[in-house]
Symmetry: C2
């Protein structure tokens, strides 16, 4: 409960009491998949601890990266799907061991009418994710792969707030929906420009990478 309050400071005390009794805590470890594209979503999740990555998935199982989900955040898409009782077309992967609060279908709407702070939280969630997805649209609609790769790396480095990003070229390639060779070559160019240094299984951020 203290944990919940800490992570979601905008929510009122009376709502937190209700939330605590009517939601469940679930734990997942690195590598697990929480929502699988194609399955029905019956719950919405709030993140208490850890880190998730949200993907859009197509019929062939390709996974296109949309955004990170951090503690204190909720998955907008799972809210939408849950409210419509529709099949999910997204996948959520656990990046760091994660503790989730799962909210059963139907509660979201009911609580919105009863608790203004929850109402505001849901709206903010929709809004911020909508904006983030629009930025993703910008990146694919208006930019070529080298710029998209920079945008991708920027988001990842910002997220981990560190100088080393543990990821393979193959993973980057599938999350940007291109091939490994293309990513390897573009990364090589970035290394030559002094933006990053390449290693096995991780990429090191150099000062040359202007994050503005």
């Amino acid at each position: 409960m203290n944990n919940i309050k800490e992570r979601f400071p905008s929510l009122s005390n009376d709502f937190l009491t209700v939330l605590e009794t009517e939601s469940n805590v679930a734990n997942f470890s690195r590598g697990e998949i929480i929502m699988q594209a194609g399955s029905y979503i019956r719950n919405t999740v709030l993140v208490l601890k850890g880190l998730l990555k949200i993907y859009r998935e197509d019929d062939e199982g390709n996974e296109f990266f949309l955004y990170y989900l951090q503690p204190g955040q909720a998955c907008a898409i799972s809210m939408i799907c849950a409210s419509k009782q529709e099949k999910s077309e997204i996948t959520a992967k656990v990046i760091e061991d994660t503790e989730l609060l799962t909210i059963p279908f139907g509660k979201i709407e009911k609580w919105m009418q009863e608790f203004p702070t929850w109402n505001q939280f849901v709206l903010d969630t929709y809004r911020s994710r909508f904006e983030e997805v629009l930025q993703v649209v910008d990146s694919i609609a208006f930019h070529s792969m080298d710029e998209r790769l920079e945008f991708y790396l920027k988001r990842h480095f910002e997220q981990c707030d560190c100088m080393d990003l543990e990821i393979t070229h193959q993973t980057i390639a599938s999350e940007l929906s291109t091939s490994r060779e293309v990513i390897s070559r573009l990364l090589k160019k970035m290394e030559q420009r002094g933006m990053i240094r390449l290693h096995r299984n991780y990429i090191q951020l150099l000062d040359g990478f202007i994050t503005q």
Copy 2:
């Protein structure tokens, strides 16, 4: 007022009374631009009559098509921008002479707490547009230009619910963020496959175009 009620049947009568007194009606004719990327949005719009197209715009003025806005619908992105008092990065163009209801900034949230039907309407707007934008992401992330073009045409023919689509290759090209020549060639191929017939300034839908 009768018009409003007709177009937005889900909204309660008491809310419609408030809406009528506190919003303004505005008329626009074909070709006009209602929201320009880069300018601040102070109003949210509900569509009473006509037809709008919503675009995402980049710094160079390229316009990437996101979705249509019909009578009975509201612009989700303008709601988001208005609520954050942020610059818009979208453009709205009038396709058919349009009558809009403009709602001043600040009212949206206030009314959400007072009127459940309005609350529901705003949520539904966010949800359906979010989903539509995710489909757009799918189309650019997972598909090549010929498939994207089919998806684009499908949406346009569904919208007008007719067999003739009045549009130039150049317009299609910029709305898909590619070049006119590419579109002309792909359209030619679709014509050869018996899906469409090409004319000056319009494209004719044939039965070969399976809209499923």
